[in-house]
């Protein structure tokens, strides 16, 4: 891990650049030929195309063909006329003359935008800018034989342009309610992030080009920055097939972690139950019910039940611990809810790296640190390596839509106040222990629903609080239970539930309708 490091990092960066430009090329090429986006991995995976280049001659041909298609698409001249940005910076005049031609060319190519993004929706400047940036990245792969100049000013103007595109799109994402924002804007954010990541990688590649010996701290800091850009695209953008942001982020995680000094690695991997909870009216449990029985007796009937033995085969049960999470995803940006309960006034959401979250809020929180809970986050969509460690229980496919996966990772003592959700839910406990109390829908009158319409699915009552504060609640019927690693719980729609973690805890929930 000494001398080789720089070579290894360079290799990782080069591969990531190829993955990004390859994926962009595939997107633009398939648009051009008007083909329906093929789902076959061979032709679709930008990743694979890049791997093919390193493979044998036959595979190389596949890539060559794509390249040719691409040249037809943007025109050979378009690729050539691009003045290397290093020249452009030194000699603005050259840039002027050439970009005029390029602009004409680009105007003709205005339709070259990824699927789902239309100029009519996003406007001229965004279309033009996104197309330009994607073409810069796509053409960078065709000229990869000519190593990039090692000046630090390389493509800085393009990076500013990509940054402007993302900041502008961020404004659009903040206009109107999140769910009303046209999908095109989220796609622009994703593709803008892909272009930005590509440009940042090119810059890092150039910086590493003549560098020997172990990577400098500045290289690692840049790698961490690229990783943040990946996560920003994944968190705020729209899902895209074979998103190269996934592979780039996965390969940069190790280096980005090195940039942040003092990441604790020495946690005890064995989690034991730390807090007590007395189960007074235990919820019935059932071992691996057949699908039809589950559908009939529980899902259709709206009856909650504890499920045992349904996730025994999950690799996650053996793999997942804090050390593993840090290794796989320590430098990844995650949203964290800070504040004891989401109903508190001081409650807020913050973005931080998983390493920072685990150190500050989970393993060794300082005395006055507020509770931090990585709650209801689509972590497994953001980090597919973790998704590979689990299997969706068959029960979750009994609805009309495919289930949505959320991760719940937190220290001991996190509390989700009594509330209900509109969908079917199976909560699987992977690490640690949780105490859960359930009030069925017909008890709603006794649980003090919040008067504010926005919070009407949430109770004002502190379930484990003083009895005399919530007299009605004491009359309500309920069930309770402890969830241990490997246990699962089915919660029907609109069934009230209260959750408190009794140790460090990592659960996965599956929502379906």
């Amino acid at each position: 891990m000494e001398e080789n490091d720089s070579t290894e990092l360079r290799r990782v960066v080069e591969e990531a650049v190829r993955a990004v430009s390859g994926r962009i090329m595939v997107e633009l090429t398939h648009l051009h030929t008007g083909k329906e986006s093929p789902r076959t991995p061979e032709s679709r995976r930008g990743n694979d195309i890049c791997k093919q280049e390193c493979g044998d001659g036959k595979e190389r041909k596949t890539r060559k063909e794509d390249e040719i298609n691409y040249k037809e698409l943007v025109g050979e001249d378009r690729i050539k006329c691009r003045v290397p940005p290093s020249v452009a910076v030194l000699c603005p005049e050259a840039e002027r003359v050439v970009t005029n031609d390029c602009e004409v060319e680009a105007a003709k190519q205005r339709s070259v935008l990824p699927t789902g993004i239309e100029e009519g929706v996003v406007g001229g400047w965004v279309s033009h800018t996104l197309a330009t940036l994607l073409q810069v990245m796509a053409s960078s792969s065709t000229s990869s034989s000519a190593p990039l100049s090692d000046t630090s000013s390389f493509s800085d103007e393009d990076i500013v342009l990509a940054s402007a595109l993302l900041d502008y799109t961020w404004q659009k994402l903040n206009t109107g309610h999140w769910r009303d924002v046209p999908m095109a804007w989220r796609l622009v954010f994703t593709w803008g992030s892909i272009a930005m990541v590509g440009l940042l990688l090119l810059r890092l590649e150039a910086a590493l080009h003549h560098h020997t010996g172990p990577p400098k701290h500045s290289h690692l800091t840049v790698a961490a920055g690229v990783l943040r850009a990946c996560d920003r695209g994944l968190l705020m953008g729209a899902p895209v097939d074979d998103n190269p942001l996934h592979s780039s982020a996965a390969s940069l995680n190790t280096y980005a972690r090195l940039a942040a000094a003092g990441n604790a690695e020495d946690e005890n991997c064995i989690v034991t139950q730390q807090d007590e909870a007395s189960v007074t009216r235990p919820l019935p449990s059932v071992h691996c019910p057949p699908l039809d029985r589950f559908l009939l007796h529980y899902m259709a009937a709206g009856v909650p039940v504890k499920l045992t033995g349904v996730v025994d085969h999950w690799p996650a049960l053996k793999l997942w611990n804090l050390k593993y999470l840090r290794r796989v995803a320590g430098a990844r940006t995650v949203p964290v809810e800070v504040g004891a309960r989401y109903t508190d006034l001081s409650w807020s959401q913050e973005l931080m790296t998983l390493d920072d979250y685990l150190s500050r809020h989970v393993t060794s929180p300082a005395a006055n640190t507020p509770t931090g809970y990585l709650a209801q986050h689509q972590l497994l969509d953001q980090i597919p390596q973790l998704r590979d460690d689990i299997l969706v229980p068959d029960y979750c496919h009994l609805g009309e839509e495919s289930p949505r996966l959320h991760a719940w990772l937190g220290p001991r003592g996190t509390v989700s106040p009594l509330h209900h959700d509109p969908d079917h839910n199976i909560l699987v406990q992977v690490v640690g222990y949780k105490y859960i109390r359930l009030y069925e829908e017909d008890q709603s009158d006794l649980v003090y629903p919040h008067p504010d319409p926005l919070l009407s699915n949430t109770s004002q009552a502190d379930v484990e609080g003083p009895v005399e504060d919530w007299p009605l609640l004491q009359q309500a019927q309920y069930h309770d239970l402890l969830l241990a690693p490997g246990d699962a719980l089915y919660i029907p729609p609109r069934c009230w539930h209260y959750v408190r973690s009794l140790s460090v805890s990592f659960s996965v929930s599956f929502w379906w309708r």
């Binding site: 602009e103 400047w125 500013v160 402007a164 900041d167 502008y168």
Partner: protein, 536 residues
């Protein structure tokens, strides 16, 4: 002699062609004789004696700007251009063509309706579209006054119609098909239209619900609606407000029946604001970031007065993307909305600084010969505060573009040096020696300000004469001719010679500023004297 300086986002070369994407120093525009400026994200419109022109993104409608009559008023957003002719008729350019603005002047509001587009107003719009097209068929233009020539009439008619139809029937594609089937005959069209209209009683133009013989095509249709004389349009890509000379505001397709005379309108990304002749403010739209100033974070469908400002006479208003500003006739500024980048002039909650968005390190590369250069930071501060400086120092130096002795120097400031200067800047604390600044001003950390807050940054003897908002920054013009800026500075829009965030309004020009404009991530300053680019 008047000079115009612009700064900020230059990614579309809207300020200077062939120069870096960020111009953090106010740069001298070469255009001469500018009388009015409209700024939006990717381009800037300039009005000169010879007509309208633009710099920046060569947008599809760019060429159309040149055809606008020099006498017309123009209002722009990123993707829309609105124009008002000398005689008060208005049109808006969207995507492919000019569309005349039509509103129902004597529209009676029904119980329970709002002024957003109603189903039956679609029918009314369709009638107007019919009338419009007939007028076009007759060769009589909507209003030629707006344009220098009649180019817009030569637009392929089909495309204009398609555009209008889409607008009218975007949600009911079946109706559109029916309409396109009807393209053949006018009379057939009209009789079908009568069938299609569900609210015949409410249709105002009875003329159009009766079928006309083919021969009458050449008659200019009679209309019951008197012509509306517009005087201002406030436009965003998703909302358009029009104001007529009687003080009526139109939105969607109908007037907003307020019973109040409005003198100015403004729009943000999600909210609207209107100023009444009595100096009161009305707001409506989304208030999720405090934009409405009503103390709440919610949506308001109808214009309602900002109660906490009642009794204070407001003389002008401005909307940023998610913030609002009101200037009182006594020269005080009230400000509210979202402070994510400090655009309200108050400190920002630190964890709202979007570190996630950092991707480049800016080093000033503004052209030395075209920008107002700062002098060295070691300028005697007392001298500055006593206003006894040499002509060049009319521009207050708080800038990091330090001319050094190595070559053209300023672009080679190392990271370390930059830090030192930053610290120096803070330590110097020029503000403490500036008697225009209120030393006891409130320093509340603000994220969202849901009710108007008096910006007490300046001393009481200082009058603010104008305030303008960009998407996420704010400019102030003071009665001593100085200009100040605060808010987002990532693209150099504050004109301070760097792209660092600032915690409080910061002086850009010491004196000589006669007009300020802001939009998108750009600022424009008009100054009286020729503040010559520094030769020292």
């Amino acid at each position: 002699m008047m000079s115009v300086f612009a700064c900020g986002n230059n990614t579309s070369e809207q300020i200077l062609e062939g120069y870096p994407s960020i111009l953090c120093c106010p740069s001298l525009m070469s255009l001469r004789g500018i009388t009015h400026i409209e700024v939006t994200f990717s381009h800037i419109l300039w009005k000169t004696q010879s007509g309208w022109t633009w710099t920046g993104y060569k947008c599809h409608d760019g060429s159309n700007i040149l055809t606008i009559n020099p006498g017309s008023k123009v209002f722009i957003s990123e993707n829309r251009t609105a124009a008002i002719s000398n005689n008060g008729s208005a049109a808006v350019w969207e995507k492919t063509g000019w569309r005349a603005l039509h509103f129902q002047k004597d529209f009676k509001e029904e119980a329970g309706t709002t002024f957003t587009c109603l189903p039956h107003t679609k029918t009314q719009k369709y009638l107007k579209f019919q009338r419009e097209r007939e007028a076009r068929n007759n060769g009589s233009s909507l209003d030629c006054n707006l344009f220098q020539n009649e180019d817009y009439i030569k637009l392929p008619r089909a495309s204009v119609e398609e555009n209008d139809l889409q607008e009218i029937y975007s949600s009911d594609s079946w109706k559109r098909k029916e309409l396109s089937d009807m393209q053949g005959s006018h009379s057939e069209k009209k009789s079908k239209l009568v069938d299609a209209s569900e609210n015949q009683d409410e249709l105002c133009d009875a003329d159009y619900s009766t079928s006309e013989p083919e021969g009458s095509e050449h008659q200019v249709p009679k209309t019951n609606t008197p012509q509306i004389v517009f005087c201002q349009v406030a436009v965003e890509d998703n909302v358009l407000l029009a104001l007529d000379k009687d003080g009526v505001v139109y939105c969607g397709s109908v007037p907003i029946t307020l019973g109040l005379k409005i003198t100015e309108v403004a729009v943000g990304k999600e909210h609207c604001m209107a100023l009444t002749a009595d100096g009161d403010i009305l707001t409506w739209g989304s208030g999720m970031r405090g934009q409405l100033g009503d103390g709440e974070l919610c949506q308001k469908e109808k214009p309602l007065p900002v109660e906490s400002l009642q009794g204070i006479i407001i003389s002008s208003i401005s909307c940023g993307g998610w913030h609002s500003v009101a200037l009182s006739d006594s020269g005080d500024v009230y400000i509210w909305g979202w402070n994510e980048n400090g655009q309200l002039g108050f400190p920002v909650k630190s964890n709202f600084k979007h570190s996630l968005f950092e991707s480049f390190k800016h080093v000033c590369q503004c052209p030395k010969n075209l920008t107002i250069r700062s002098r060295e930071i070691s300028v005697d501060t007392k001298e500055q505060s006593n206003k006894e400086t040499k002509p060049q120092s009319e521009y207050l130096s708080q800038c990091l573009c330090i001319p050094t002795n190595k070559g053209n120097g300023h672009d080679k400031v190392s990271l370390k040096e930059e830090k030192i200067f930053e610290t120096t800047r803070k330590e110097q604390n020029l503000r403490l020696l500036d008697d225009r600044v209120n030393q006891d001003c409130i320093k509340d950390v603000i994220n969202v300000q849901a009710s108007p807050k008096l910006l007490d940054f300046w001393s009481e003897n200082v009058k603010i004469v104008d305030v303008q908002c960009g998407d996420r920054h704010t400019l102030f013009q003071l009665d001593d001719g100085s200009a100040w800026s605060v808010g987002m500075n990532k693209y150099g829009q504050l004109g301070l010679g760097h792209t660092d965030g600032v915690e409080e309004p910061t002086e850009v020009f010491r004196r000589g500023v006669t007009k300020i404009y802001a939009g998108g991530w750009n600022s424009v300053f008009v100054t009286t004297s020729m503040l010559s680019p520094s030769k020292s």
